[in-house]
Assembly symmetry: C2
Homo-oligomer: 318 residues x 2
DNA sequence: GGGCGATATGAGTAATTGCTCGTCAGGCGA
DNA sequence: TCGCCTGACGAGCAATTACTCATATCGCCC
């Protein structure tokens, strides 16, 4: 998207049409005449601009109900920061709702001129956040991954957000080139013995800011879907009270990490509860509510970006 | 717009409808059902959200042609910064085109964490810039006006941008409470003798960044329209080669300030050529092209935000 | 050079949106 | 209290936009 020379007029025209439509407020007929193309082509360009994510829309208005929820979350859990986006209604994708708000939160840190180490998890929510990110230069910061990027099948993780962010802000980035979960403890030790990997892990551990998604541990847990754990392992964890997971580290309804022998193979960096630095969760959706609540309660997260209905649900229970 | 408690659900609903429409991509019929109102009301809410400027749209794509023009401007005039927005086509208002880009430039400075003194002119272009500004907090900076805010008829200047920016970013601001042009030299001296006014002027003179509009000196010059000068004075200035004006200071086609006895009554702070700090002009439109070119040539401005057709025109002549 | 698949194009049509108008409720001064 | 004015509302309709489909074009492999 930010590549300098390619695509001389491919999505270039789309951007121009999108500009004329959304910013200039022209009708597609006028755009067609302006660009000297058919009306249908103008329509396709505009629609492409939208599909390619060239068009960023933001509502510049604090909706009262959301502000109240932010305040309530902050008070209840002693957060440093809470952002609640308006809900998208029943059937819609919660990620769509929170992505722009999450991007805005991340931009707050990116905009700072003193160099920060920004640690990032993975997942659909963070991926959405990146897509909504404005392309601003912030080469002073360093971006580091909280979690290994090698999937069980050896491929690079599908939702790798760190490359995409780094691409947009042109900052140095440090992915963690090791398995999310190593096959054996020995493999884990072998990886972490490597100098470069140890350095990345140290960087992540002392990050100034952390952005992570939150995984739920229901029968359709992402850990299972992505084949990081087996069905049997999931069931065993559920029996022990597992309710959620952050960077691969599983916790119960009180936000206590479940100790297990598998821990010694986990490639993700664990977030200690009540860090004195921002640890911000980006998550929404009914299924994730108990997990989010647990993480907030225990202080694994001290900041949250979520949507309206999730915020209400989180606050509904003590 | 950022007021905390008023309007419990007045434009609140509008914001929500706008969100559902532009961000969630729902149809107005769906929104109507979601909000439990009639389709017509949903339509009105969406349209209101747009009219009130709650909806901010940005195209996140560097259009090749504009990038080339930016490069050409930077090279030709040795600028620190050039931004060219896509043109809006023949009949459209140039301010609409450059406002978002100008806002983005201003935000670059507002986002810096070290405290800056930001000086601002007036005019329609800057006013548009403010309207496009994202509401971000930047209390570390100080905003100072380059130009007096008392119009000839005693009213506060219509396009007073500094209050509006300060309101949006919650930064301390220093308007210049004196006439744009004093009636006599004595009046000017009396004003500038006052301590607070002297302090504001000093602040403006040592500003870290300057954003100003550019006025043209044709027969419909803004200085005349706003009754700062008479028709006779305008004609006299034109005879002496006046081509443009920045903060009330008139210059010729080479960007040389016209010396005149009236200078001693001018309330605006004059920008010295080739300042070592950013002095950014925000201006577009065919009538302003010679003025912009002159200001760039002489180094009164070392940065520019303009639109595509203006950029081409500026570059067209040597 | 010919066939083939992928992709772009324009026409037509369905869906959605924006506008105008007649109506009505509430506020306000006579 | 009456009459007038302002602003909101819903209905209907015109304008605009999105989608579908048949056709044309291009690149590529044989």
């Amino acid at each position: 998207m930010l590549s300098p020379e390619i695509e001389p007029s491919q999505s270039d025209d789309a951007a121009r049409a999108g500009w004329l439509y959304y910013v200039a407020g022209m009708t597609q007929d006028q755009i067609a005449r302006e660009l000297g193309v058919s009306r249908q082509r103008a329509q396709r360009l505009v629609s492409r601009a939208m599909a390619e994510g060239l068009v960023h829309v933001r509502i510049e208005h604090p909706i009262a109900a959301c502000l109240e929820l932010e305040q309530a979350l902050t008070d209840r859990y002693g957060l440093t920061r809470a952002r609640v986006a308006p809900g998208l209604g029943a059937g819609a994708d919660a990620v769509r709702a929170i992505a722009p708000a999450a991007a805005q939160e991340l931009e707050r840190f990116l905009a700072m001129s003193e160099p920060l180490v920004i640690a990032l998890g993975t997942g659909r929510a963070l991926r959405g956040m990146v897509d909504s990110l404005t392309g601003l230069d912030a080469p002073q910061h360093r971006l580091v991954s909280m979690i290994g990027n090698i999937a069980p099948d050896g491929s690079a993780s599908f939702f790798d957000v760190i490359m995409r962010i780094a691409d947009k802000v042109r900052a140095p980035h440090y992915p963690m080139p090791m398995p999310v979960i190593s096959a054996t403890r020995e493999e884990f030790m072998a990886f972490t013995a490597l100098g470069p990997i140890r350095q990345v892990r140290q960087l992540a551990e002392r990050a100034d800011v952390i952005f992570v998604g939150v995984g739920q541990m229901g029968d359709d847990a992402p850990l299972l879907a992505d084949k990081f754990i087996t069905r049997a392992e999931l069931t065993a964890l559920q029996k022990r009270g597992a309710i959620g997971e952050i960077a691969g580290w599983v916790f119960d309804a009180e936000g206590r990490y479940l100790e297990s022998p598998d821990d010694t193979r986990l490639g993700g960096v664990r977030i200690d509860p009540r860090l004195p630095r921002p640890a911000i969760g980006v998550a929404a959706g009914a299924s994730k509510v108990p997990a989010i609540r647990a993480a907030l309660k225990a202080g694994i997260l001290n900041g949250i970006v979520t949507d309206e209905s999730s915020a209400r649900a989180i606050l509904a229970q003590g």
